[in-house]
Amino acid sequence: MEQKLFEIVEEPIAIELIIKKVEDRNAGAITTFIGTVRELTAEKRTIYLEYQAYKPMAEKMLAKIGEEIIQKWEGTKVAITHRIGSLDILEVAVVIAVSSPHRKAAYQANEYAIERIKQIVPIWKKEQWDDGEAWIGDQLENVRYPNAKPDIKDETND
């Protein structure tokens, strides 16, 4: 039963299957983050979203985030699935599951994962509003790829 821990999919995500991937007899805590399509952002009303990915690189970057987490928080297991294509309000775009012997690490590692996804994973979101559309970039409202340079350098040295 080959399982991909880090995956870009086009079909709806079965949340419980992602959780199953990180189950561990010595983990007392599993955290999940479920990113869903929200209707209102600031005063704009979203009709639906379209996600596009550079799929092989996106899966590679998700796996890289998993490796970073295992380095930082010992004993954790991580699985991340991101959906692409057209998503309606309430649909699930991303599921991050982290198991750990200790709950503090499960929360911290999970939050780290979503922050890193928004920095380095080549996935793009196009908003379809009731009055127009646009590809969204730099949603962190930061300078480009914040703090990512050292990791990028590591990456090129792989």
Binding site: I117, K118, I120, V121, T156
Partner: protein, 77 residues
């Protein structure tokens, strides 16, 4: 010859998901300049270049046969 993958805004601007440039053994910095001059993409300055599915730095060299992609600011999650 270098084939360059385009995504999101850049793909829509170019009307295609890949372009080919007659270059080889250029730095990433040089490639970005050429892309800016030839296509005038709005997002080139704020984009990263990926070479063989990894982020590349300005001084990295792109060789013939490398898979190159322009990565505009990401917005997954």
């Amino acid at each position: 010859m270098i084939e360059i993958l385009l995504f999101a805004q850049l793909q829509e601007e170019a009307g295609t998901d890949n372009i080919t440039m007659d270059l080889s053994n250029v730095t990433v910095k040089k490639l970005k300049e050429q892309l800016q001059n030839t296509y005038g993409f709005q997002q080139i300055k704020e984009s990263m270049i990926a070479v063989n599915e990894s982020y590349a730095l300005d001084d990295d060299i792109i060789k013939a046969g490398d898979t190159v992609a322009i990565i505009p600011p990401v917005s997954g999650g």
